[in-house]
Symmetry: D2
Subunit: 284 residues, 4 copies
Amino acid sequence: MKSATATLLISCADSPGLVAKFANFIYANGGNIIHADQHTDFSTGLFLNRLEWQLEGFNLPREAIATAFGAIAKPLEAKWQLHFSDTIPRMAIWVTKQDHCLLDLLWRWQAGELNAEIPLIISNHTSLKAIAERFQIDFYHVPITKENKVEQEELELELLSKYDIKLVILAKYMQILSPNLIANFPNIINIHHSFLPAFPGAKPYHRAHARGVKIIGATAHYVTEVLDEGPIIEQQVVHVSHRDTIADFIRKGKDLERLVLSHAVRLHLENRVLSYDNRTVVFN
Amino acid sequence: MKSATATLLISCADSPGLVAKFANFIYANGGNIIHADQHTDFSTGLFLNRLEWQLEGFNLPREAIATAFGAIAKPLEAKWQLHFSDTIPRMAIWVTKQDHCLLDLLWRWQAGELNAEIPLIISNHTSLKAIAERFQIDFYHVPITKENKVEQEELELELLSKYDIKLVILAKYMQILSPNLIANFPNIINIHHSFLPAFPGAKPYHRAHARGVKIIGATAHYVTEVLDEGPIIEQQVVHVSHRDTIADFIRKGKDLERLVLSHAVRLHLENRVLSYDNRTVVFN
Amino acid sequence: MKSATATLLISCADSPGLVAKFANFIYANGGNIIHADQHTDFSTGLFLNRLEWQLEGFNLPREAIATAFGAIAKPLEAKWQLHFSDTIPRMAIWVTKQDHCLLDLLWRWQAGELNAEIPLIISNHTSLKAIAERFQIDFYHVPITKENKVEQEELELELLSKYDIKLVILAKYMQILSPNLIANFPNIINIHHSFLPAFPGAKPYHRAHARGVKIIGATAHYVTEVLDEGPIIEQQVVHVSHRDTIADFIRKGKDLERLVLSHAVRLHLENRVLSYDNRTVVFN
Amino acid sequence: MKSATATLLISCADSPGLVAKFANFIYANGGNIIHADQHTDFSTGLFLNRLEWQLEGFNLPREAIATAFGAIAKPLEAKWQLHFSDTIPRMAIWVTKQDHCLLDLLWRWQAGELNAEIPLIISNHTSLKAIAERFQIDFYHVPITKENKVEQEELELELLSKYDIKLVILAKYMQILSPNLIANFPNIINIHHSFLPAFPGAKPYHRAHARGVKIIGATAHYVTEVLDEGPIIEQQVVHVSHRDTIADFIRKGKDLERLVLSHAVRLHLENRVLSYDNRTVVFN
């Protein structure tokens, strides 16, 4: 078994010595780095760093790490996150009627591929309630209409708070979230069934078929206020031909959607994704 | 050596018996079919067919085939083309300054992968003249400005006519063709450096980088009046990461562009592509 | 809804007029062909044909089709199969302990992607019994040892017979079938976790990792007497890097395995696969 | 323009503090790291590191770097290489008759994609001499027979020495090198036209076709004494179908071969590849 690790995700203005400075912090406290990766965006002068080290043998107690590293980060005006591999984040999945992305996430969760707890599923329909029950996950039916959207989103935010949710996965949740909801809960991953920026919005497979494309795709991205324009985490495509009907596009697309979404969720849960400037750095 | 073949490309309204009817035409005249493929678009009720057979042993003399098949096609109001594999079409390549697509086409042409004559290269710059000379292809420098565009396109059309050109390849020709030119010479294949419909128009790699996409692509399509909206023949993509700069996008994209364009040109020259309704059927 | 169709899969020595002859059989009886594809292997002189047509409006009653077509096929010494889309074949799935391929097949089956009945699951372990129960499929535990293999395979053959099974899917069934079993039930599809012919036999991911490959793959094939050497239906690969451990190979490979196996099963059930000479023709 | 950089490639037994130690060496001397990547192979306990930094502003003169770093590396028993981006390595290309890999390398070289000098082409045939002349590269015809192989390889080694060659590219050089040659010049990259370990040795496309595979591939690897078993740098594949003849395999394979070989050469020339234990780490 891998012993517990700590991971730092850091971003700050580039300057000489950052690689050494951050690695030294680990080393000076007796830590053994098992993964280190960094990236400099030379066009914006931003330095991004991921450091993962074993907690066993580290001289700082884990509750003191944030304070100690904060003292280093402050003069650099660095943004940073600290994660412990044995502090399992709580994740909610929001769905509508389609089960393929939900089942794929739950299967991987059971198989140990996703380091998360999943205590909550929310849906604007009841079709997938039986799946939630089978996996013993609480299921809430929150139907949305134009008229009740404001109140229902309040209810959803309360559920996220009550269940102490840190990450929401939109696994084919066919509703547009309001800016208010996103402002109150910014940590949301969505799967969109096209290779963005082609075909944002509704019915991308129908529009792809009408355009006569030879490839279709799927995109996992963080949700921002502008529909389907948030930072892209992962994209995959598959070839199609004139023999493929819209039904074939949808069937092939489902395979893409579940693989792309699951992979993006895994990357996020392993603390491998940093966003800036509406893009992501994926340290994999 | 493969002996000479004839190829029929047919499209007409679907009705029972078309596969048998067209195959019978070949068989009744003693022909040996070496490739037959068909497709029915059930949404529009269109039937499309490709038939290729050996001319050796075929009882109709080749100059009589069109008349004989025309009699069958007329009551069906079918559109059709007849090609002979030993009637080599004449193709012109239009370029600006980048050499990669041009060199790739010429290398394949020399290697026997493209069944065409290439007597003419046109460019709005002189940078690639030496390549034309090396391959002993006539090179015309036709600079284009806002002011002279109408006359220069007339000159280009005259060159196409003088050289008896049947197909024009825009191999990174960085000019928008006028509707008049396209109306007068409709058989043009272009390579666009994005997975259309994402990023039509100028600077797609820059825009793809700004958007933070995880895949880039290239698209070969027939040219129509609306920029980058003609029927798509072929698309390919390649993965990119946060480490890839715009220069890397351009470098990786060049490999895509030359493969996608060359493949589309080959498919066209083998008479495997039928267009309808702003899409293509590729019988490969 | 698509109405019921009939499909002929034909192979025979090539000769002029076969495309017309077989299409005429459909047309002369008033049938409307919705898919026709053919292939000639010029190295062996074999002609292969797939014809699918609507039964509605076809003048021959379906019970007379085999006799009528047999009269055409006989002088050609053609091998042929006749399938009706509403005669649903019965399929058994054999597993050991891993659930990913089984769950993927069952999910697609429920989603209507696989045109089969699945009345029987056989396993040499009991781990996956609960899944069988959830889907209300009969589950038989048939443990295999060196000593009891002969008798246990007899039992398996009896089960196949009792359940009227037409196709067996080895969905990570980690046992080598005896020549006797294969001789008695030749219609078996297996998933092997490598891009064959690399790494046949045991522990392919371990050996791929030891070799330092940059791609791993999965292969679906018909089972023949020689281990992992039967006709290949479908292969897919995924890139790996030095960061990927054997555990990562296995995890990434599971995604490949379920996609490749499910796709091969779907192709088979749609009667799109013809085998000859230890290879397949896939009319898709 | 990017200013000149230095790159260290280091491998040694893993121990705490290595990331910090090596980064500190750069930082303590005022260097600005522009790329740092590392990998630990936990199964063997080996640590591998790539560090690239700008020479401008670095306090150590470049001729002193090796000595200074050597003092750090010695107690760790580390193997290491030091490269300067403006010290352009000299590379020879060995060919037989096929031109596609050679032309692709030369086109990329002219386009500035390969940071090397190419003063020497060696061939056992004369077919490609004109290409060498066009690019003003010295061409030597060194025909090989069973009888003269020992002497001719001596001649080849003399040419490598005379031209001060640091890297040899076998760009479809259809001869097996003797252990003696490899022992005397170990820095050789080969392109093999299969996805190794499938189909090592002669005629891989013919054997792939005979096996009925659905994918073909190409592999770039360092040459070792055992044929086609050296460390793999890069692999790519392409799908094939029953329609593809051996000639199609060869044609499609040529595109793979030139892309895979060129990419591997580029990675090597950018000092991104470290070999150990018959495998590679590619820091890209």
